[in-house]
Symmetry: C2
DNA sequence: CTGTTAGCGCCTTCAC
DNA sequence: GTGAAGGCGCTAACAG
């Protein structure tokens, strides 16, 4: 029924081994032989049996990309960039030569699913895995991750972090690209302080996530440096990285005594919800309340007014992670790189009224 | 080095065959034996060798989800919903039992990559494939797709379309879920006509895409029914499904003679660009120019003014496609379902000034 | 440069 | 309910 390598060999009048060599291009083969084999492949419409190949070679051409939320462009942009580096340009024939199969796996932010996907990829003998996004800070989960990643690395899977802080005490991860969330949040807060804001509300992300903590820490560093510590608790609200969290948290902040003059959001999506809440309270942005986001997703420039935010080079980071996963690029010294965040000042922030 | 099924069998003092049966749960095994085997699996930290398993069983637990643009929430939402139906809830142990590995593949809208990914999935003996988003209308590519899908189906891969019109004359596709793009665009245009608009600009998607054509056709149907045909060409501009296309095309429309009073965009992202262009021309939305989008992505309600658009139930469609791919749900009669689109009237459309 | 020979690790009849 | 044996399709040493 299905045509095998042996069929191709018979048609091309060579041995199966030769066909294998032609297909993998790892050994020298005479041009005339190669042509004959390739012709047979086309004539028979042969498609390599991946599982058989992976079994024999003890490695597959699968590369996994783990993301927290595939519906969030933050991850989509990174994953897309990584995937295009991994998948290669394709030869336009649709024939699929030595390409890797770059696949993205959506953990939904769940630690269990994160581990499950890693096991599934381990089962498939994946060639590499790119793990994107912040990590959960639960010690048990971190230990489980470290153990799982060590096993993957042992089995020859190359592991790259993208937008995630490095794993302490582990050499399983070939390279870690971390965003400077702390520095970005600090600069953003400094920007508001320079404008004259003193009471700044902070809509933070979910607890126990590195991204959340780093951004919050950067914010508080700047506040403390300005001598404005003390009100942290009453000015911070935690919630998921989504629009309604921004809306609800901002309503909460606006209703508390001692009105805030600015709201910093965990990310741009949250900021959109914050903007909506501010408006629904009959307040103007930025005249009455300044609002800022984080990430600089594509839609942020089209918010009205355009959102002040912190730009992360998501596409560049994703592409680099993809190249690292493919071994096309040498890991940075120590395996760790911090990627700078750039403050983008736009119309949603201004000096407070007073 | 790596622990195999035989190791587990030895530890559990049973035969490899029994271990296999326990793991796959397809044959009756005595409870006591099963427990012994499972304990050995845990103790040895055994992970099934996917390729070996797939080779022997002639099928894998891989399920592919093809998307045009992973950075676009339109696809992210569908893919995420499909993936959570396919991946199953997980058992919280991270142990990975009989789960499928749902993976999303980003074609970038390129026909070559679409075919390449299908070949790669064929090579992996994927259990199922979900193809999302509109199709390219090039006859050669359609024929190539039909041929490739037929081969996949032959090899036992279940194929489901989600948000894509059915393939004519082909029984390779087990089920097609198509959006009513035509009807949605018609209703949206009728809404503008009822408001009193007569000159309506249309920023269409890329040429030769079913989605583009269907939406455009629906729009023109409504225009024609209102006796407003004739100006089609001068009122339509094509471009990719992105923000800058909406911006540029709208600038173009606004500069042409006989100013439009409304701009319909191919989708919400394009509409965002259109809004920016309108504003940059010193015009107000909706007082001077009405703007509307399509899809009702999450950010659309937060545009200022909120975007009038057409809602597609992306998550529901994706989830259903996932269930169909898993065989959890029976395909509709004839294998084809059209999913309704709902008009969402918001602040970005109003009666024209005149 | 090319053919031959062994497995890779698991599933699946077939017996018991 | 369980064990034994063959083979899935390919790759990777070896020879030659």
């Amino acid at each position: 029924m299905t045509v095998t390598l042996a069929d191709v060999a018979a048609r091309a009048r060579v041995s199966p081994a030769t066909v294998s060599r032609v297909l993998n291009g790892n050994y020298p083969v005479a041009t005339s032989t190669r042509d004959r084999v390739l012709r047979a492949v086309d004539e028979l419409d042969y498609v390599l049996n991946g599982p058989a190949s992976s079994l024999a070679a003890a490695t597959s051409d699968l590369v996994g990309i783990l993301v927290n939320d595939i519906a969030d462009p933050f991850f989509g942009i990174m994953a897309g960039a990584a995937q295009s580096e991994i998948g290669g340009p394709g030869d336009g024939s649709g024939r699929a030569g030595g390409e890797k199969l770059a696949v993205v796996c959506n953990t939904g932010g769940s630690p269990e699913r994160e581990l499950t996907y890693l096991t599934l990829l381990q089962r498939q003998r994946a060639a590499a895995v790119v793990v994107t996004g912040g990590a959960l800070e639960d010690p048990d989960h971190q230990a489980a991750m470290a153990a799982k990643l060590a096993k993957l690395a042992d089995a020859g899977t190359r592991i790259v972090f993208c937008g995630r802080p490095p794993l302490p005490d582990s050499d399983a991860v070939a390279a870690s690209l971390a965003f400077d969330n702390r520095g970005g949040a600090r600069r953003l807060t400094e920007h508001l302080l320079e404008l004259g804001h003193r009471r700044i509300g902070y809509v933070a992300g979910p607890l126990e996530r590195t991204t959340t903590r780093h951004r919050l820490e950067g914010h508080r560093e700047a506040m403390r440096a300005a001598g404005l510590s003390g009100d942290e608790e009453s000015l911070t609200v935690h919630g998921p990285y989504d629009r309604s969290s921004g809306y609800d948290a901002t309503c909460e902040l606006l209703s508390r005594e001692g009105t805030v003059t600015a709201v910093l959001a965990a990310n741009d999506t949250v900021a959109l919800g914050a903007c909506a809440a501010v408006r629904d309270h009959g307040l103007r942005i930025p005249e009455d309340v300044s609002v800022a986001g984080f990430d600089d997703l594509p839609f942020s420039v089209d918010a009205v007014p355009a959102l002040t935010t912190v730009r992360l080079p998501l596409a560049e980071a994703g592409a680099r992670a993809g190249r690292l996963a493919m071994g096309k690029e040498k890991p940075p010294a120590g395996g760790i790189t911090t990627i700078e965040a750039e403050l983008m000042v736009r119309g949603s922030t201004a000096a407070p009224r007073g």
